[in-house]
Symmetry: C2
Amino acid sequence: MAAEASNFLKYVDEHEEDFIQRLAKAVSIPSVSGNIGYIKDVEAMAEWLLQQLISLGVKAEKRAIGQHKLEGKDVDLPPVIIGQLGNDPNKKTLLIYGHYDVQPALYEDGWHYPCFELTQDPSGSGRMYGRGSTDDKGPIMAWLNVLEAHQKLGKELPVNLKMCFEGMEENGSENLDKFIESEKNGFFAGADCMCISDNYWLNTETPCLTYGLRGINYYEIRVNGPDRDLHSGVFGGTIHEPMTDLILLMSKLVTPAGEILIPGLKDLIAPVTDEEREKFEAIHFGVKDIHAAVGGDQTLTNDKVTTLMGRMRNPSLSLHGIEGAFSATGSKTVIPCSVKGKFSIRLVPNLTIKSVTDLVVKYLDAEFKKLGSKNRCEVVLGHGGEPWMADFTHYSYRAAHKATEDVYGQAPDYTREGGSIPVTLDFADILGLNVLLLPVGRGDDGAHSTDEKLDRDNYIRGTKLLGSYMYELAAISK
Amino acid sequence: MAAEASNFLKYVDEHEEDFIQRLAKAVSIPSVSGNIGYIKDVEAMAEWLLQQLISLGVKAEKRAIGQHKLEGKDVDLPPVIIGQLGNDPNKKTLLIYGHYDVQPALYEDGWHYPCFELTQDPSGSGRMYGRGSTDDKGPIMAWLNVLEAHQKLGKELPVNLKMCFEGMEENGSENLDKFIESEKNGFFAGADCMCISDNYWLNTETPCLTYGLRGINYYEIRVNGPDRDLHSGVFGGTIHEPMTDLILLMSKLVTPAGEILIPGLKDLIAPVTDEEREKFEAIHFGVKDIHAAVGGDQTLTNDKVTTLMGRMRNPSLSLHGIEGAFSATGSKTVIPCSVKGKFSIRLVPNLTIKSVTDLVVKYLDAEFKKLGSKNRCEVVLGHGGEPWMADFTHYSYRAAHKATEDVYGQAPDYTREGGSIPVTLDFADILGLNVLLLPVGRGDDGAHSTDEKLDRDNYIRGTKLLGSYMYELAAISK
Ligand SMILES: [Zn+2]
Ligand SMILES: [Zn+2]
Ligand SMILES: [Zn+2]
Ligand SMILES: [Zn+2]
């Protein structure tokens, strides 16, 4: 532990209740970015956050980033709030990100507590319920707590801090990439590394550092035949049915054991290094954790490392559904004339959007030709997102590792997310920075669900973690 | 031509306009059985038809057949109208069927003419537009025309006629089977054979007799895995996905060329007799007719007989869609936890509901076991309908053949329908009668579509055909 941090830690312990009040205030502003009815609340949240930063000594400002359509109306995008504290050329400069908007929440959805009122679990578990408690107001408040401690203690931060908080993360982060691009050589210039706290521990007990995200290619296989839907009584047995072709093509993509059948795709996967394997072996996780999460025993394997790699560092292919076919309950004897099969492939290094698409299109074109069908087939990439992986040996990760040991008394797990967090790529690619994903909350926090919560212990220790990380970052050699 | 029919035919020619007025009156009553808003019109149609029959000398009555739920309300089923004319033990007794209800029709659906007003094509083509013109009011009015001619000419019918008209055909013929059963030894006793005019020529030029219908087994393959839908980013690559299993099973049912892959199913098909093959070869039909009907060149073959047998006398398997998977436009990265694949098999002699289901379930169970999946799979028969085929060498068919030659100057095609007409089976099975399907309208009449029509020529010659059929039936040796 960096010795200078000790009075900071003491301050945190002595101000738990104040910090919880700060989070309660943040949760009480229903800053839902996806509904026009909450537009004033998003504004109010931005203003409150700005004033908090200013009162904590941050040189902060709101930045307009354009307009968008919300429920059919043209409205201003929520502002980006940027702030800076410290400008010492002898210190490292850390960039942090968070989002002050939240997912929608309605009591009728099945909440057991008021959605926008931070509620302590009456059983004394330490759970604090409320929309945004863990996603992502808790982590932002933890940073404010760190700033308050230093202000009140009259201590300078050990690093220069640059902050970027947006209010559109839950609604697509529109224009944030343009903002980052436009301020690349402005506000963002000089940042040494970046820390984002907007994901979760893999389980409920073990802190972790997250160094990778899978990308995704989403495809449609479009098979077109007759120019109208037909009755199977009249035409069944006389024509090439588009569904028959589509189902056969979709059946050739992946085996029930999850093996992707697209030739050449496996060859693109970056070889597993010894260091990576060690990180996977060290993760605190059991296959039973997945059984609990899915409500069944459908894991492909009972081996921990294989399961974790299946989720985090290997591509996967899922068949999502078919558009244009009969999909309601009951029975309908239709021969659909035009159907679109939907599937996606999760990407990992070194698969790219383009290299995978080339293989997919080539393979499916060839398989379709084999069918001898008179229908027409086309494979279309809907959207693509590249995979991301950070160098987890970077000093920022080493600093976070030490800080975790300081605060939690144990080494963190090194995890990757199976899904994507698009802002991570925007920052990493545009600014060329090492990005550390440093979660504050637990795997069962239920971001986006009913009864979203943050554990009091995670909030308080999270505050300590972020502060300690700054100290370790300042102390560590690049 | 039976000589006694000549003044009947003359009467028809002299009363074309009257007969068209009769059809116009029938079409003007919007007897839609599927909407509660038309319940009074269905009643009015039944009453009008009853009065017509009585005025034409028929001993007719309305029979209540119970209640049903229509748009959530308990209401009386439309009555069955039964009638009898003639009771001469030395004559054959013919049973006829028709339905006085119609499909819904809204001008906004794209009609070019008023839906419930018989409208002559202004171009003089002879087309008479209006809902129910061909399905099934035209054929019923043709029978009434026959009766009128005989009444006015003071002629007895050459056969005893029993009539059964229902008002629920377009809404499932509910309780009709029970009615037939209950009157098997009552009203229906003594019928020698049956004639139903409720289907259409195969094309627009050639009259036909229809002697077969395919049955149908409608199945669901239900694959269940996790107990909730999952995110493919988090769980893709770690579990057995129900969609992967389902798509693979569905891909093993039928080839793109339409060949059914269920072992043993082909062996159940009744061998083609020489007589049957001759009937198929004689049908006036070209593969281009299918191209026109489907708006594309997707026929499995260009051979006429193979195509016709594919439609009429061979089983076919169509994949209709999937319930529970993503089916909207756009993209959703869901792993559905529970999916139902829907497919149906059209049945022909000697496939039965049960024998086919046994093969299907056995095959799919075995294929699912091969997948090595931890999901659960179940194959369920939704509904089944047996195939039907009449003896087309029966004297009723021979009589209709002669009548067609009399009226149209050409031998009829012998066709089968690829779909089902459930009442046919009810009458054939319960009463044990030979049923002749004797269409009045053409293949392009558009029953159930916008701009439903009946050609004036088909209506007038149809009236002659039904009358002549009676005379030939009376004359022919059993
Ligand atoms: Zn978030
Ligand atoms: Zn979120
Ligand atoms: Zn009909
Ligand atoms: Zn109909």
